[in-house]
């Protein structure tokens, strides 16, 4: 495979933004370069479900015109970005990776899409994902697999695999994903980019296709901490159309970004280093922790005794919520409808049998079971109580630390096909990311280096107090500045 020639696509969003402002490059130029890169690489990578060349070119021309008129512009103005195909885009097909939504053209934009557009971002297309965001490898996409730009035989992680792969492969400068149990952080770690799962309520979910509504959250992926932070600043904040969006003001995450790690207390959960992490991954993660000490941070041992119950609680709560959310795909108002069914009930059953892939079906079944008469207390209610215990663990940990730090995933990116036949093994890929969603905390994955033997990216996970994304950004930036950026991925 050829390495990408050093080009404007290798710039970070921060650098590109400066060059656009200085008129050293135009949005049309960089958008054309991004479209060429997508054209040249995506048949092998599979990051895009739909490229939007016409829309992107129009947005780029409009951005250049605004700049020529001397209007005050945001740092995102004219910057090519991508959207996971879970975000509704007015007039542009949105499938959520599912056949059941094939051909669905939303009549409105998600709030985050509206906000990106009004910040002037150039939307290059819709990105590949596990069907209904259910999965950890993007292999559950109903349309095509997505590959890891570091090694095309491996998965990019999931469910926001297309978002992570596109950012890593220099197809776009940033992307939005969603994270219900690790779906931003795990692919970010596997592809060597920064990914952020904000606090539940920080970003509007209006127009974001629902999977598990008490866990879903929208977040950015970028090649640097700055790139992720600037995207979050522009999409976060209260939205009257989402009752669960918080009215807290959104801080300027860029302001304290260079504050360093001196004096920061990093909580290291002892339970996360008890044999569940592959040796090379653990070495890189411990190396990052040592770097923090060198930078003047203090490591504090903390205990999260209930985190081992996270996957079990999650695989009751998330499927329960999913079984309810996915009831709307019934062939009546939008999406696929089975034709020639005898009656309404048959039409429902056949539509859903044909439209959903195996993973959504599995989770609908699991959730329906967990919520059904006679099982509710034993499963769903007990899992909600476990969720309380998991949250309390974190509340206690944050009495002695500012940030909890550990691995994102137990391994580096695994091979395509490795876990597809064993759903439980696939679920366990989320063992370190899931508790963050259950506890409704913000979490971030930042590249910590390359695996010593595999030469693949390893992520460090940082978790913060509710609504304290600013500290996560500052801590991640301190590490990034110290260890330097990863090289461009060699696989594409």
């Amino acid at each position: 495979m050829t390495k990408p020639a050093a080009s404007m696509l290798d710039l970070t969003m921060e650098e590109l933004s400066r060059k656009l402002a200085a008129k050293e490059v135009s949005s049309v130029e960089v958008t054309e370069a991004a479209l060429r890169r997508i054209e040249a690489t995506d048949a092998r990578l599979g990051a895009f479900l739909r490229v939007m060349p016409d829309e992107a070119r129009a947005a780029a021309r409009a951005s250049d015109a605004r700049r020529a008129r001397g209007e005050p512009l945001s740092p995102l103005d004219g910057v090519p970005v991508g959207l996971k195909d879970i975000f509704l885009t007015r007039g542009v097909e949105t499938t959520c990776g599912s056949r059941i939504l094939e051909g669905f053209v939303p009549p409105y934009d998600a709030t985050v899409v509206e906000r990106l557009r009004s910040a002037g971002a150039v939307i290059a297309g819709k990105l590949n994902m596990d069907e209904f965001a259910m999965g950890s490898s993007t292999e559950n996409s109903a349309f095509k697999p997505c590959h890891n730009p570091w090694d095309l035989a491996r998965t990019p992680g999931g469910s926001s695999g297309g978002s992570a792969a596109a950012v890593s492969a220099r197809q776009v400068f940033g992307a939005l994903g969603t994270d219900t149990g690790g779906s931003i952080r795990e692919p970010a770690a596997f592809c060597g980019v920064v990914g952020v799962k904000p606090t539940y309520g920080r970003v509007s979910r209006y127009g974001v296709i629902a999977f598990a509504s008490s866990l879903d959250q929208v977040g950015p992926l970028g090649r640097t901490v700055w790139d992720a932070a600037v995207q979050l600043r522009h999409v976060a904040g209260r939205d009257p159309r989402d009752m669960t969006s918080s009215a807290r003001p959104v801080p300027d995450y860029l302001e304290g970004l260079e504050g360093g790690a001196k004096g920061l207390r990093l909580g290291v959960p002892k339970e996360w280093f008890q044999g569940g992490v592959e040796a090379g991954v653990e070495k890189v993660v411990r190396g990052a922790l040592a770097t923090y000490e060198k930078l003047g941070a203090r490591l504090v041992e903390v205990s999260l005794p209930h985190s081992r119950y996270g996957v079990a609680a999650y695989y009751l709560l998330a499927p329960a919520e999913a079984s309810s959310n996915l009831a709307r795909y019934d062939g009546v108002r939008f999406g696929l409808r089975a034709r020639n069914a005898k009656g309404l009930k048959e039409m429902y059953g056949e539509t859903r049998e044909r439209g959903f892939g195996p993973e959504p079906k599995r989770r609908i079944m699991l959730g329906t079971y967990a919520l059904s008469a006679g099982y509710y207390d034993a499963y769903y209610l007990r899992a909600q109580k476990a969720r309380t215990l998991i949250r309390r663990d974190f509340d206690r940990a944050f009495e002695s630390c500012d940030v909890v730090a550990g691995p994102v995933a137990p391994t580096v990116a695994f091979k395509l096909g490795e876990k597809v036949d064993d759903p439980l093994q696939m679920y366990l890929a989320d063992v370190f990311t899931i508790t963050c969603n259950l506890a409704a905390l913000p979490g971030l994955s930042v590249p910590a280096g390359l695996h010593p033997a595999e030469k693949l990216p390893v992520g460090l996970q940082l978790l913060g107090r509710p609504f304290d994304e600013a500290t996560l950004f500052r801590a991640a930036r301190a590490l990034e500045r110290e260890i330097g950026a990863l090289p461009a991925p060699a696989g594409i």
Binding site: P107, G201, R333, M347, Y379, K385, R387, P423
Partner: protein, 97 residues
């Protein structure tokens, strides 16, 4: 715990999901394995624990507002993705014989 084929069919009916016989067998095995795994929650003493029913602290979100008329989708836009329509209605197969 092994989930019987009969239980799998009952759940599928509740979920309005038609399954092939092959799917039924696969799900019986896979769902049984997952339910065995989640059963470890039984180790926890949750007798004194309140369930976490909201992801946000009280007062963090969900403010009350005036109930006022605001713009929304036109019937035409709302119906544009309908698999079948008649006038301004979604058309479905016959419900009552």
């Amino acid at each position: 715990m092994a989930l019987s084929l009969e239980e799998v069919r009952r759940i599928a009916a509740l979920a309005r999901l038609q399954l092939t016989p092959e799917d039924e067998r696969t799900f019986a095995v896979q769902l049984s394995a997952i339910l065995d795994y989640v059963r470890q929650l039984e180790e926890l003493d949750v007798s004194q624990v309140e369930p976490m029913t909201h992801a946000l602290a009280a007062g963090e979100a969900a403010p009350l507002r005036e109930d006022e008329v605001r713009p929304s989708l036109s019937p035409e836009e709302a119906l544009r993705n309908a698999p079948e329509r008649e006038g301004t209605c979604f058309k479905v197969p016959r419900i009552i014989e």
